[in-house]
């Protein structure tokens, strides 16, 4: 079977932005927890 791979741009948009949003949610969870909000 022929090896096929995705372009660098496709990999980037597929795996970077959405997991970053989870990181954002974790960060705000921790920060607001410390502030008692």
């Amino acid at each position: 079977m022929e090896q096929v791979s995705l372009t660098a741009a496709t990999w980037f948009w597929l795996v970077v932005p959405m997991p970053l949003l989870i990181v954002w949610a974790i960060a705000t969870y921790v920060i607001e927890g410390r502030r008692g909000e």
């Binding site: 496709t10 997991p19 909000e37």
Partner: protein, 496 residues
């Protein structure tokens, strides 16, 4: 087939039991419409996400990913939706929860607008309730179309019979239990959707030979399906490249995220959360849920291309999840996974029926017809409203040519433009006035109805509505000291 039937019936019975159980706990209109603001972090989070995603998540989105590959209708739209979800939870949820309690303990979005701006004319309430009824009828109809598609593809039922069977079950428990029933069943449904969208893609990727097998089979159908920047269309079983995605196309896909700030059925979850302190936990749960399920849904579409290829292309792209599950899983597991599709559909329709019913009960009946109606009378008017709305939505769903994606896209843009800017400005701009809110809603809603063009109508609708809010607010005199003081209170945590 028998195993799939049994799984479905057990699942539906559980829902009806919840409806009966919560019926006993519902005695006031606030209980019926908002569950008395008692939702804990988990139930609020999963209920918001399950109501949000609808049959669209398991039918429309995988179908779009199947038809267009990794471009506009999968990766770009998912990024837009996930970003919109995060911003909504981060900036809107807590403020709205506080403000709706401070502003006369409002239990519907329409009531919030009226109380927030001290609108004695009731025009804000009336206009917003009219938009809610119009767009939710289309939205609810999309869910019934999805239900019809599911029962038709799974059991070979006649489409119209399938729409009626699905509709009866949903109406049954929304009618009985109201918001508590809907939120608790949403919680179960959200969990089921989450599990299905983890299990199905993992097993399916393995089935087609891992990632290498997946990519090479997709490339065999059309190599451009694997490129985030390429536009591919699907017709008559053939994928055709149409060049590079336009900037307008990418903006349109990302702009789906703008819709979140105006969806009444999602905002109702923010209003019903137990305390503003619960928001941070709900936000984290929601983000994990939404990112994983979006990945799961688009991967189902990609695997569908590899599985069915050019040999057995699908007639209806929106059945890709159903066809895939029936092909690769044993009937018991398939029954469980297909019940998740039903979950996705029902968890949205029930919430929408409830918000539409509260628009009729609270915003028309109580405001214009019977100011002194008793709580018991209002709960019953709410229940009868659910019935009336469900019947009209069923009539709209009767035409099989409707697509889930098309109907959802229209209603999503309508709410996003009519209410999104109005909600955002009302929470963050002290100078906003009654007339600004009214102008924003009308301009946003009408732009969506009349806009024609390649650009998704939510973009011009959102921009024009925002301009209208600013211009008409500045043309009228500053809000009263009482309104400004209330605004300031909404920026601080609630005193428990």
């Amino acid at each position: 087939m028998a195993a799939t039937y049994i799984t479905f019936v057990v699942y539906l019975l559980v829902l009806l039991v919840i409806g009966l159980w919560t019926y006993r706990m519902t005695s006031t209109l606030s209980d019926y419409v908002l569950g008395g603001r008692k939702l804990n972090s988990w139930v609020a989070a999963l209920s918001a996400q399950a109501s949000d995603m609808s049959g669209w998540l398991l039918l429309g989105l995988p179908g779009a990913a199947y038809a267009s590959g990794m471009g506009m209708w999968s990766i770009w739209i998912s990024i837009g939706l996930a970003t919109g979800t995060m911003i909504n939870w981060q900036y809107v949820a807590k403020r709205l929860r506080r403000y709706t309690e401070i502003a006369g303990d409002s239990i519907t979005l329409s009531e919030y607008f009226e109380n927030r701006f001290r609108d004695r004319t009731h025009l804000l309430r009336l206009v917003s309730a009219v938009f809610i009824l119009i767009f939710f009828l289309f939205y609810t109809a999309s869910g019934l179309v999805a239900g019809g598609t599911l029962f038709e593809a799974t059991f070979g039922l006649d489409y119209h019979t399938a729409v009626i069977v699905g509709g009866l079950v949903i109406i049954g428990y929304t009618f009985l239990g109201g918001f508590l029933a809907v939120s608790w069943t949403d919680f179960i449904q959200g969990t089921l959707m989450f599990l299905a969208l983890i299990i199905a893609p993992i097993v399916a990727i393995d089935y087609v030979g891992g990632l290498d097998g997946l990519f090479s089979k997709i490339a065999a159908a059309n190599p451009d399906l694997l490129d985030v920047a390429k536009d591919v269309t699907f017709a008559d079983g053939v994928w055709t490249s149409t060049g590079t995605l336009s900037v307008v196309g990418i903006i349109s896909a990302l702009a789906w995220g703008l819709g979140y700030f105006g969806q009444p059925h999602i905002l109702a979850r923010f209003m019903a959360i137990r305390s503003d302190k619960d928001v941070r936990t709900s936000r984290l749960i929601s983000m994990i849920w939404v990112v994983i399920t979006l990945y799961g849904a688009i991967i189902v579409g990609f695997v569908g291309i590899a599985l069915f290829g050019t040999d057995q292309p699908l007639q209806n792209t929106e059945t890709v999840f159903i066809d895939m599950v029936q092909l690769i899983f044993n009937p018991w597991v398939a029954g469980f996974l297909l019940a998740a599709v039903l979950s996705a559909i029902m968890s949205t329709i029930d919430s929408q029926l409830l918000v539409s019913s509260s628009a009729l009960t609270e915003d028309f009946y109580k405001t214009f017809l019977r100011r002194d109606a008793s709580q018991n009378e209002l709960v019953w008017v709410g229940r009868i409203s659910v019935l009336i709305i469900a019947v009209i939505a069923t009539a709209l769903a009767w035409n099989e040519e409707n697509t889930v994606l098309g109907l959802v896209s229209y209603a999503w843009a309508g709410f996003g433009a009519a209410f999104g800017p109005a909600v955002l400005f009302s929470l963050f701009w002290k100078r906003m006035t009654w007339l600004g809110a009214l102008a924003g809603m009308v301009v946003g809603g009408l732009t969506v109805i009349f806009w024609k063009g390649e650009l998704y109508e939510i973009v011009p609708g959102f921009i024009f509505a925002s301009i209208a809010i600013v211009v008409f607010s500045l043309l009228t005199k500053e809000p009263s000291a009482e309104i400004q003081e209330e605004f300031e209170r909404s920026t601080r945590p609630l005193e428990s």
